[in-house]
Amino acid sequence: MVGKTVSIKGQIVSREDIVLDGEIEGTIEALEHRVTVGPNGRVKASVRAREVLVLGQMLGNIEAGDRAEVRRDAKLVGDVRTSRVSIEDGAYFKGSIDIVRPDSLRADSKAAVAEPQTQAASSTLTLTPLSDTPVTVNAATAEAN
């Protein structure tokens, strides 16, 4: 989980479900997992994940293999490409919605995963679980604990 006082600018690649409750700018990738923009989250990024759930504010495009969901009181401005979408009454959404078959999105995702894992310079933050314990990003150092 990225706490509400955390601010990250750069590329996030996660190999587990991730909750973003802080300020994120850049790109977020969790191709086989769920990305949640928490109620305090302010995300200005493109997101690629299996599932994306928006409870806070997001400006950016979403590509979700299984599902994209925008809850009541949340705000999403951007284009959504997914196989299922849910926009609750009371949510604010502005952008395009393109429903695509799950296999075509998964083909795109697998192609992305098969690419060599090149770490960008220090701006990339990869969150990989070493165990079942949650991974916490320290606000001051932006290092995984």
Binding site: V85, A91, Y92, F93, K94, G95, S96, I97
Partner: protein, 204 residues
Amino acid sequence: MNRPAAPVSLGQERTSKGLEQFFAGLENRVNLSIIDFAGASQANITFITSLGHKLYADDVLRSVDQSFGTGVEAMEKQSDPDAIAEFISQNLDFDHASFDGALIWDTLQFFAPPLLEAVMQKLYQALRPGAYLFAIFSAREKERSIPSYSYRINGSRTFTLLPRGERVVGQFFNNRSIENVFQGWASIKFFLTRDNFQEVLVRR
């Protein structure tokens, strides 16, 4: 002259000839791009995407309020060319000929004439030749403010109105003024209803 009209049934399904013909114009085609000015609702998203189309949704009246404010003073701001240009670039930044249909609902009534003209120019550019635009106008011609609604599509010929409160109109609309709004478009068809609405289906 205001026609006596049956009261609007709020939250109830309403059959619409205009909407029926709008969707008939999309029949036997997939992967089209449709604009919905009423904002994103699950009902409209589900219906349009289930037809195999892509949807662009924006609550345009909310965007207008954010850009120009609300109330009578907002109408003055909607006449400012710089403010209009900024609104268009921030909210209607569409590529040329990028949409195959537009569900404008009742929104055009609430733009001051200069803003309305700019919005119509943009819509004309954004719609492909032959695309349909569906709009609704209140038949309450001389009223300064009228109810506005959200619109939920239930099927190809039915939708539900959900009240959003009263709004100041940009101008009074009758058949002649509606025709003027769509001057230069290929065709316009009016559908008179028993309640307080006038539906129009316009072809680009």
